[in-house]
Symmetry: C2
Subunit: 335 residues, 2 copies
């Protein structure tokens, strides 16, 4: 039965199972890439490859491959390239955050220190961009390079604007489109390009990936405020502590009176022991989290329209299914 | 008068002046590239571009361009690409070393912290690799990507083998060929490729760059032991303190008796207040620094043979002149 584009199905899951054999090939290809590194470095790269990344970007590339013809070696390869870039950013994120564990295992910086981890991320970046040349297409090299640059730039702007209470929603969207949307969009658009789709379809696929990545980031940002650490399995309530102003908080600041805004600013900047839970409580109470969820749901609706013209295969259905899966997660953030 | 390939000329300088107009174009192009970044990031990138790098790699690309035909826009551009990669590695090196100043001004990490500097280096890397796609040649993209990966891998192995007294000379040469030789070799070989030289000439140019970079690194390593901080203008005597075993020290360990080696190992590992100056003193006394200088001079002699077939222009002369300039600097390390 085809996934509906208008009615939410019950209990959607991320369609990893549909593309399990292809994702196994991605894993094998990543392991093969590890061997391209100097033997002295292999163990470090292997550790990072084994412990980070949920392979969402490769899964998207494979699903688009299926939805636009058939899954080819090129779809596997572009998934590997983008996942290596994603892993490089995770290694560097963990350094910046001083994180000691990721997905229950020690981070690279916890195991080997910051110096080696900086270089390890760099080596993964340059390897990914070198691997992208295997397609023999300048267009693809350029688009991969640009996506990689966007991710870094998005993270820089985010870092630079911590605790900056003048951050606008337009700034927020620009940041998350760059840091999360760009690599999702590269996965879906480049997979289409590799299938030989026309420019209009490539653009729609780009839009699907960009909006899906943006909605995913909004979900992640809401989860940081309202999630349960036991369920999510990672440390939460860290964004505000680090001065990251996310959509729910921006919603709250937007709807506040001037007097209220002064109170919020003080709590965000001063961070007395109870300030952050109280700010989250107020955000819930005022419906600011709910409005962020609604924004993300709106983006997911647009995603479904983007891939509507591709309908007619289990892969296209799965692209729709992902949006319902994420919508289900977002709904759980409402309180 | 053509530079002699056998007799050292007096007081050779690095031939920056010969290519001053072209290096000015490199500077202008670097400034133009800064504008390709998001406006929020421009000031950071501009700061790094203004405060780091001596433009040796662009100068090499330009000289090879002149020596193999004429200097074109492409030679300027490959110089810019490689200099951006070099700058990215400097930004990340400063984080790893905890350096607070470079060339008399605060480092990026000193100004804005490690987090932003990690990302800034990443953005420079990905921008350089994106810019490389402008040549429209997969071969060039691949070679730039590989050079970039080599640099990172060389630094990783070096970091990983700090205080490892089993490091062999072959390991040392592999490390410095990767971390310094690869980018020099990319500058000279790719400049030749862009002039349309044949494969044999490209290979000789690659050899010239690789050996020049290696000799330059040996010089830098000797200077760290015997240089004067006032003259050099940077903190010296840091390699051993950080556990970096360089060629003079490896020479010393190699010629030591077992009993002597035990004494050296103890001094290197324990690092009591006087240990490092004493190790340097012994290295001088035993001629270990001298032998490192001789090794570098031998490499420079090979460099001259590599570019001999190109003789016949001021640019080819300048490629020879560089080797004599570096030989002069190395000679001053003898004590």
């Amino acid at each position: 039965m085809a996934a509906s584009t208008t009615t939410p199905p019950r209990n959607s899951t991320f369609p990893f199972d549909l593309v399990r054999p292809e994702l196994d090939r991605v894993e094998a290809a990543i392991r093969e890439q590890v061997r391209a590194f100097d033997p002295a470095i292999e163990p470090y790269v292997a550790y990072v490859c084994n412990t980070s990344g949920k392979r969402i970007r490769p899964a998207l590339a494979i699903l688009v491959g299926g939805a636009t013809g058939s899954v080819s070696d090129d779809h596997i390869k572009i998934g590997v390239v983008l996942e290596l870039i994603h892993m490089a950013t995770l290694v560097h994120d963990d350094i910046m955050d001083g994180a000691t564990t990721r997905r229950m295992v020690p981070t690279a910086n916890a195991k080997w220190g910051n110096a080696l981890s900086v270089l390890l991320g760099d080596a993964l970046f340059s390897h990914a961009l070198t691997l992208a040349t295997d397609f023999g297409s300048i267009d693809i090299c350029r688009k991969v390079g640009r996506a990689s640059r966007e991710v870094c730039q998005g993270e820089i702007i985010q870092t630079q604007r911590r605790f900056d209470l003048s951050l606008g929603k337009d700034d927020y969207f620009r940041i998350i489109e760059m840091k999360t949307g760009a690599l999702f969009a590269a996965a879906t658009a480049l997979a289409g390009l590799l299938s030989g789709v026309d420019a209009a379809t490539e653009e729609r696929l780009y839009g699907y990936g960009m909006k899906l990545g943006t909605a995913y980031q909004i979900y992640d940002d809401c989860l940081d405020l309202v999630g349960s650490e036991e369920v999510v399995g990672k440390t939460l309530r860290t964004d505000l502590a680090k001065g990251k102003l996310t959509l729910p908080i921006l919603n709250l600041l937007e709807s506040a009176t001037e007097a209220q805004r002064t109170k919020l600013n003080k709590r965000i900047l001063d961070q007395e022991p109870l300030d952050l839970p109280v700010v989250v409580g107020i955000a819930e109470y005022e419906g600011a989290i709910e409005r962020a969820v609604d924004t993300a749901l709106g983006l997911l609706e647009e995603c479904r329209r983007d891939v509507e013209p591709l309908a007619g295969s289990v892969y296209a259905d799965a692209l729709v299914q992902i949006t319902w899966f994420l919508a289900g997660l977002l709904d759980k953030c409402r309180r």
